[in-house]
């Protein structure tokens, strides 16, 4: 299809590179019951999985539960992973993120989530992760790409993805008309994707 752009010559996103292929291979071996391969897969991916869960849930104990559930699901469903549809790491993180968000929302439904929200807290809350992150060149690229977004785009993407808020909640928090936050989220993701050189994934 003509609308699929080629991946730029920049450092390839890890999903498509050799690291990505190695992860996909580990997952494939795991799907046949290879626990050693799964342990390797866990070691290569767990900091990102756990970090994402901590970021959304803001609670280490709950993040551990969610991460464990996600890895169990990953183990059970490894055979369903299709490398043609995306990278192994994004498959895992999609599972982690969905579980973390579902947990946050059901906690909210039963009134346990703190309604008060301060955007400062949200964006400054990188401290605990700073050490791990600065070590990574990739993290630096990500920060640069994020700083390239408009303020509203960045806030919308961060509140939705890292904060676990729905687009209608995001709209209320950022004083946007309902219905425009989803556009900001999408525009922000498109800009990030292009800045980070993520090629569109061809779909059957």
């Amino acid at each position: 299809m003509t609308h699929l752009r080629s991946v730029p010559a920049d450092p390839p996103p890890e999903g498509g590179g050799s690291v990505g292929a190695a992860l996909a291979e580990l997952l494939k071996r795991a799907s046949r019951g290879d626990e050693g391969a799964f342990a390797e897969w866990y070691d290569a991916t767990s900091a990102r999985a756990f970090g994402l869960a901590v970021r959304v849930l803001r609670d280490r104990a709950q993040a551990e539960e969610v991460t464990q559930e996600a890895y169990l699901e990953c183990w059970r469903h490894a055979a369903r992973f299709d490398p043609a549809k995306g990278s192994a790491i994004s498959w895992l993180l999609t599972i982690v993120h969905r579980k973390a968000v579902d947990r946050v929302r059901s906690a909210e439904a039963s009134g346990r989530r703190d309604e008060a929200y301060s955007h400062k807290e949200q964006t400054v809350d990188h401290d605990s992760t700073a050490e791990a992150a600065t070590a990574s060149l990739e993290a630096t690229r990500v920060r640069a790409a994020l700083s390239d977004l408009t303020l509203k785009q960045r806030q919308a993407v961060e509140l939705a993805f890292l904060g676990g808020y729905t687009h209608t909640e995001v709209a209320r928090m950022l004083d946007l008309p309902i219905g425009t936050a989803k556009t900001r989220i999408r525009d922000g993701l498109i800009r990030l994707r292009d800045a980070l050189g993520v090629g569109e994934v061809a779909q059957a």
């Binding site: 626990e35 464990q68 183990w75 990574s136 993805f161 061809a202």
Partner: protein, 241 residues
């Protein structure tokens, strides 16, 4: 770009409510462009997560590895037979829908006689309305729910068949969503097998849904949505009676 495509970003980062998520997933099944876009956004999200990495405690590794040793990996899913598209869920082409709407309206206008609404209950009126359109959804926990909507009356009724009880301290709650707005409660459904009239204007609603909520109901639907009825595509595979 149609309205639903604009949800791709919010879908990819799990920023849709349960109803919108279900609606978008129906769309996703048929839109290769959105699938590619969602996949590319998820790759982007995976990179964003790099900047958030936190090494988990060693105890988590032991629990995960102990956990998987007790669980058998599932075999790959059998590929879906290409010859059996799920007709029930496939939205009709726009024109056909528009035509169906016109026919329904015409039928509604012709068939809506004022003398019909005498002593019968509002729910019965909807069930017996000549323009009533039915959509049935199977529930994950068993049983099925049928939404009966009469465009001419602007009302809808939900009725269940073999629907298990919601559980102690819980109730089924009905929801209506007007185009571009959040889901609004359309009332509780204490006995799912009993025809229950939805509060609100079902004539203009874009979707109806049923969720399981704590007894007394909720202001917003929980994640436990058991059925979604996209009303714009209500012409699909229904038997208009």
């Amino acid at each position: 770009m149609s309205e639903i495509h604009a949800l791709s970003g919010a879908y990819a980062v799990d920023a849709l409510d349960a109803i919108e998520r279900a609606q978008f997933e129906e769309h996703l099944a048929e839109c290769a462009e959105c699938r590619a876009e969602v996949a590319s956004f998820r790759e982007t999200g995976a990179l964003l997560a790099v900047a958030e990495a936190v090494p988990p405690p060693a105890s988590l590794r032991s629990s995960v590895l102990a956990g998987i040793s007790q669980v058998r990996p599932l075999p790959p899913e059998a590929p879906l037979p290409a010859t059996e598209p799920d007709v029930r869920r496939r939205p009709l082409p726009r024109l056909l829908l528009a035509a169906a709407a016109v026919v329904l309206l015409a039928v509604g206008v012709l068939a809506w006689h004022p003398w019909q609404h005498d002593t019968t209950s509002a729910a019965e009126q909807v069930l017996n309305a000549p323009d009533a359109v039915r959509v049935t959804e199977r529930l994950p926990q068993g049983g099925e729910l049928t939404l009966v909507r009469s465009p001419s009356l602007g009302r809808a009724v939900l009725v269940g068949h073999d629907v298990p009880a919601a559980g102690s301290g819980q109730t089924y709650q009905m929801w209506l969503q007007q185009p571009g707005e959040d889901m609004v409660s359309a009332g509780l459904m204490p006995d799912a097998d009993e025809p229950t009239l939805l509060d609100g204007d079902a004539g203009t609603a874009a979707a109806a849904a049923v969720s399981i909520e704590p007894a007394g109901g909720s202001v917003h639907p929980s994640e436990d949505v058991v059925a979604v009825f996209p009303l714009q595509t209500a012409g699909t595979g229904n038997d208009a009676s």
